[in-house]
């Protein structure tokens, strides 16, 4: 028992260190979703309403992306405790990240202690997978910033854990229903993944479920959450989001993509040319888009891309989602991952382990019909399955070499420790040194500095104009000025999530402007991107990204 407490304590300490050290400073600044979450939590704390004035919403309109509510609500007590800051916005994610590390131990133990061939080592596998998730670049990336999906990973794991435990202790089965229900409010992708995982568990364990009373109660609890979720599901906002992100809608495609309607038309003309007009109507028809082969291929390609080597091990997806020059998993994990998967599929499959490959297969499903794939955030729900497989692979190889000669065993250990240390050290270097330097633009650096300056000198001016080229500027100014939500809501609160020119408070107006034609009789302060201003503008201050390129300019208008 002491040994267990010591080992799990060490792993949790490591997890905490990696998640809390320089939290709020690396990455260098908050990106727009983080400030939006922070200000909404602050607003809920002060007024019980979000920035739009909606009382305790179950969906936060936020930046017009209609965020699930859990992250906002768990940020409220943290903001109450530590005040509105970078640290307090990121802390919930970090804390649940640490909790995920602990939970990984228990989930792994629960599953692998049911596999006869590795039961004797299940504790070892559990410690290892917990350790691997503690140092996982993927998990660290989203534990050190306010990403809703990180909360979702924890809740999903809890739901699965209690489901399996609940097969023996039925009361825990009901806890599983609660967490599966809660999951519907944690993250967009989870709204597809969680019910599918739940259904898979029911199918897998259909012979081992608790008595009917508990099953009914399970669906009653989950049903309450689901009924509350239905209005969100059928709301116009959800429809807008789905239309804007899915690949079946030609109107929402990126401009660089070919026009689907035109492709269909060209193909139909080709069919008609050779006398197959009817075939053309079947094979190339916008109304039959869900059976269109090219679109389906695109969806499959996006699905498979989540298992791609480059995505997982070399470069992830967009820069915001990984350390520069680093993938989502460690390269040293690859051989162990392959061995772990191979072993499990060939020798270790049973009711308990079957959920692991199914989990892997379910997670990319919702992402594969969206435009941006592979997507490290939306697929973070993969975790901690990769680490479980890797830990299994490590233990299998360890057992193999343990029975070889002593020198071989020691060499193996030295090589593994060296590979891990080098790989991890390189990751830490890339994360702590290069993230801030290379990605300060992606992490929206400069907004805080601009707010501090405008706050200092705003009283010298009639008003302060902030260009919409600064990207969702109203929320950065609200956050960093800690503008009182009461006062803000009295004036109407936020009117647009950032894409329209309606937002304003105090002396600040958030809209596009023209430097030359802006009321020359009044003294105005302007904040904008470098290309908002001409060469001869009266620049008060230029803020630079950490790589030396210009971020923002603060300028005084030209007066008569």
């Amino acid at each position: 028992m002491k040994r267990h407490a010591f080992l799990i304590g060490i792993i949790l300490l490591l997890a905490s260190l990696l998640r809390l050290f320089y939290l709020g400073k690396t990455p260098i600044s908050l990106e727009w979703d983080e400030v939006a979450i922070g200000y909404d939590a602050y607003s809920i704390l002060e007024t019980g309403r979000d920035q739009f004035g909606k009382f305790l919403p179950i969906t936060f309109r936020s930046l017009d992306d209609y965020k699930p509510p859990i992250y906002e609500y768990i940020t409220v007590p943290v903001v109450a405790l530590f005040g509105l800051s970078e640290f307090s916005v990121r802390l919930p994610s970090a804390i649940l990240g640490i909790a995920t590390v602990g939970l990984t131990y228990y989930l792994t133990l629960l599953i692998f202690s049911r596999v006869p061939s590795v039961k004797a080592y299940s504790n070892f596998i559990a410690y290892l997978s917990s350790f691997l998730i503690a140092i996982s670049p993927w998990h660290l990336q989203f534990s050190r910033a306010a990403f809703e999906v990180n909360v979702s990973v924890f809740i999903t794991m809890l739901a699965v854990y209690f489901f399996i435990r609940g097969l023996i202790e039925p009361k825990l089965f009901l806890l599983s229903a609660f967490f599966f229900g809660l999951d519907l409010f944690s993250y967009h992708s989870t709204r597809v993944v969680a019910p599918l995982l739940m259904a898979s568990l029911f199918i897998i364990f259909n012979q081992h479920l608790p008595v009917k009373r508990f099953i009914l109660l399970f669906f009653l609890i989950f049903g309450i959450f689901f009924i509350s979720f239905i209005p969100i599901l059928i709301s116009p906002e959800a429809q807008i989001r789905f239309k804007a992100t899915n690949i079946f809608n030609p109107g929402a495609r990126y401009l660089e993509e070919k026009d689907l309607d035109k492709i269909f038309l060209d193909n139909r003309i080709q069919d008609k040319n050779v006398g197959f007009e009817f075939a053309g109507k079947i094979f190339h028809n916008q109304r039959l888009i869900f059976t269109d082969y090219d679109t389906l291929k695109k969806a499959f390609s996006k699905y498979i891309s989540h298992f791609g080597f480059e995505f997982l091990f070399i470069k992830g997806d967009v820069p915001l989602h990984h350390a520069p020059g680093f993938g989502l998993l460690y390269l040293f994990e690859l051989p162990f991952l392959i061995i772990g998967v191979q072993y499990l599929l060939r020798k270790g499959l049973n009711h308990y382990t079957l959920i692991l490959p199914i989990w892997l297969l379910i997670v990319p499903l919702p992402v594969s019909v969206t435009r941006e794939a592979p997507h490290a955030v939306r697929s973070e729900l993969f975790l901690p399955i990769f680490q479980l497989f890797t830990a299994l692979g490590v233990v299998l190889i360890f057992n193999f070499v343990r029975h070889q000669s002593r020198w071989f065993f020691i060499t193996y250990l030295i090589v593994i420790v060296m590979l891990l240390s080098i790989n991890h050290a390189f990751y830490l270097h890339q994360y702590y040194v290069h993230t801030n330097y290379e990605l300060s633009r992606n992490w929206m650096y400069g907004r805080k500095e601009a707010v501090e300056l405008t706050e200092k000198i705003k009283n010298n001016y009639e008003k302060v104009l902030v260009s919409l080229r600064v990207d969702m500027p109203h929320i950065f100014w609200l956050f960093y000025t800690k503008y009182p939500p009461n006062k803000y809501l009295l004036k109407g609160g936020t009117s647009s999530g950032g894409f329209e020119e309606k937002n304003h408070f105090d002396k600040y107006e958030f809209r596009y402007f023209n430097y030359y034609s802006e009321e020359p009789n009044n003294k105005i302060l302007m904040v904008g991107a470098p290309n908002d201003f001409p060469q001869d503008a009266n620049v008060i201050k230029t803020i630079y990204y950490l790589d030396g390129t210009e971020a923002l300019k603060i300028v005084e208008n030209r007066q008569k």
Binding site: Q270, V274, F276, F283, F300, S301, I304, F307, L345, R346
Partner: protein, 288 residues
């Protein structure tokens, strides 16, 4: 149905797929090449038979051999190369003939003798093979590694085939997507039944292809198709031999999807592909 009859059905099916409107699909740019195309289609048909025989001896399983031959016969890339004048297709026939002849041979000397004949025939039938074409080349480890990941990517296997610039069916991968689960199961099976020679051949062809200075226009990789067909067939066989309901349902769903994909491929190949070729005649600068 008796197994010999099944073999006849597979061959008849292959024959129709290869000879139906051979002069029109894809359009014959140079009429004098029709005879070459006819010969090529015949060799492709023979390759189907040779693969049947080879896998029968290798696996000692007639059903699996029939399945391998069938998979090979309908694979998108094999069909495409079997209906044009393709040196890679001729070389593949020679390789399969060599493998079939030598699989039962015990004498090392005879094997070496046949290998030299194989090398000779291979070199005269496939002068475009980049190792024969290049007098010197530089091998960059970086490029090779990069190319390996490209060539082993799902994109290349299932969605796009850039090995043949103009004239090739680039909008389809080298396999149908529906074969993916069978490929994975088959790959696992190949490890279990320990048939290293399949993996050895795949490894050799893979290395030659990725080292090509013309990569990704590396049609040498076409030679891998019979071995991939063996693996896919092995996967299907494994799948089909399981008797539980879940596997059967899964198999049925994948099978329906495969039919859908084959229909899509034929639609594209017979209607759109010829028009694409006619619209891009100016780009085609090799016998086709």
């Amino acid at each position: 149905m008796r197994k010999t009859n099944l073999l006849f059905v597979v061959l008849l099916y292959s024959f129709i797929l290869r000879f139906w409107r051979l002069g029109q699909i894809p359009p014959l740019i140079d009429q004098s090449l029709f005879l070459a195309r006819l010969t090529n289609a015949f060799l492709s048909l023979m390759s189907v038979f040779l693969l049947y025989y080879y896998s029968k001896v290798l696996f000692k399983n007639v059903r699996l051999a029939l399945l391998s031959a069938y998979i090979f016969a309908i694979a998108p890339w094999v069909l495409e190369q079997g209906r044009i004048y393709s040196q890679a297709n001729v070389a593949l026939f020679i390789l399969l003939a060599f493998l079939t002849v030598t699989i039962k041979l015990k004498s090392l000397y005879l094997k070496l003798f046949l290998s030299s004949i194989f090398y000779f025939l291979f070199s005269i039938s496939y002068p475009q093979f980049w190792l024969f074409k290049m007098s010197q080349f530089e091998l960059s480890l970086n490029n090779v590694l990069n190319n390996i990941f490209i060539i082993l990517s799902p994109e290349f296997f299932f969605f796009k085939n850039p090995t043949f610039w103009w004239g090739g069916v680039r909008d389809f991968g080298i396999l149908y997507l529906a074969w993916l689960p069978f490929l994975l199961v088959g790959l696992n099976d190949v490890f279990v039944i320990k048939k290293p020679r399949i993996l050895l051949w795949i490894g050799i062809v893979l290395l030659i292809s990725v080292a090509s200075p013309f990569f990704p226009e590396s049609r040498e990789f076409f030679i891998i198709t019979p071995f991939i067909s063996l693996i896919v067939a092995s996967g299907i066989y494994k799948f089909f031999s399981r008797n539980d309901l879940l596997t059967r349902v899964l198999f049925f769903l994948v099978f329906v999807f495969m039919i859908y994909e084959i229909i899509q491929y034929f639609h594209y190949y017979t209607i759109h592909y010829p028009q694409q070729i006619l619209g891009n005649r100016g780009h085609i600068n090799e016998p086709f």
